[in-house]
Amino acid sequence: MSTGVSSLAAGRPVAGARPATGAWPAEPGGAFVARTWGACAGLGTGLVLAAVGAEHLAHHPAAAVLLLALAAAALGAAVLALRGPGGHLRAGAAVLAVGGAGLALVGTVTATVGVAEVSGLVLGALGGLLLALAHRGSAGGPPAHAPGGRAVAGRLLLVAVGAVLAAALTTAGLAATEAGAHAVPHGSHGLGGSGHHG
């Protein structure tokens, strides 16, 4: 019997099915942190890729299409990683790494490397590394029991820390894009129209 997996005939769990989960999936703590932080970094990578891609639409459409495609892939990989551990983490790590590299490549070719590109590169590299570590960390199979008690709140706190760190890096990158330059100050949003920076 595989570690943590039941194997029954008809009506019983399929081999390879993960054990019943509680509040959080049953995975080692380190792998949990790497996976959730990597996923948050992945969402940030996707946002920066989309913002930089939107910037290039007018003057470098081929580069824009590439970046927007990478953005969609990064966001998808991040969402899958948030859903739980699995073999998709390795592919997700590759997607994020390629996304960061794509930003660096486009920035170099178009001579537009700036804070946004650096932010996206860092997010993509960190996200890829973290997802790869998460995949490796959970390769030995899930623990016998899902976390309970104080561990539930503890893991929630860790998720919050990772989310805020990723948000800080992402916001810095987004603010450095053309969209950031035209951003409406918070509090000035209105119905059907807002002021914008010059």
Binding site: T21, G187, H189
Partner: protein, 134 residues
């Protein structure tokens, strides 16, 4: 409730948004409903429309927090909507529909909140004693 990250997040975020929405009205007296300039509430600039949005989000999250399934759905929805609005907004920056705000410290908090909501909505409380069967 403390054993469900989704119920916990929905409760805490719902209460905070409600509080921010209510307190916002104490500083937006005289501010036009959809004014171009807001008044600061601690580090956030708000206007009456913002306060109402905060109240609605807070009420929705709190109302959903009584059950795991509804809290999970609401957390995912609010987080996803925020993310999608952010992405769509990247392509309408020159239009009158632009509401995007990407460059304030408060947006770290907003984006961080969206990431937390998505993380718990997608990744936590994924099922009790249920397993796939043939």
């Amino acid at each position: 409730m403390t054993q469900s990250p989704n119920r916990l997040v929905a409760t805490v975020f719902g209460a905070v948004y409600l509080l921010v929405g209510l307190l916002g009205f104490t500083v937006t007296g005289g501010v036009p409903f959809v004014g171009q300039e807001g008044n600061p509430l601690i580090v956030f600039e708000v206007n009456p429309l913002h306060n109402i949005v905060h109240l609605l989000i807070g009420a929705a999250l709190l109302a959903s927090s009584r059950r795991v399934s509804s809290a999970k759905g609401m957390n995912t929805t609010v987080g996803a909507v925020y993310l999608l609005v952010g992405i769509v907004g990247l392509f309408i920056i020159g239009s009158s529909a632009n509401i995007l705000a990407l460059n304030g410290a408060d947006n770290v908090l907003h984006l961080g909140s969206a990431l937390i909501l998505l993380a718990v909505g997608l990744g936590a409380d994924k099922g009790t004693a249920r397993a796939r069967t043939v």
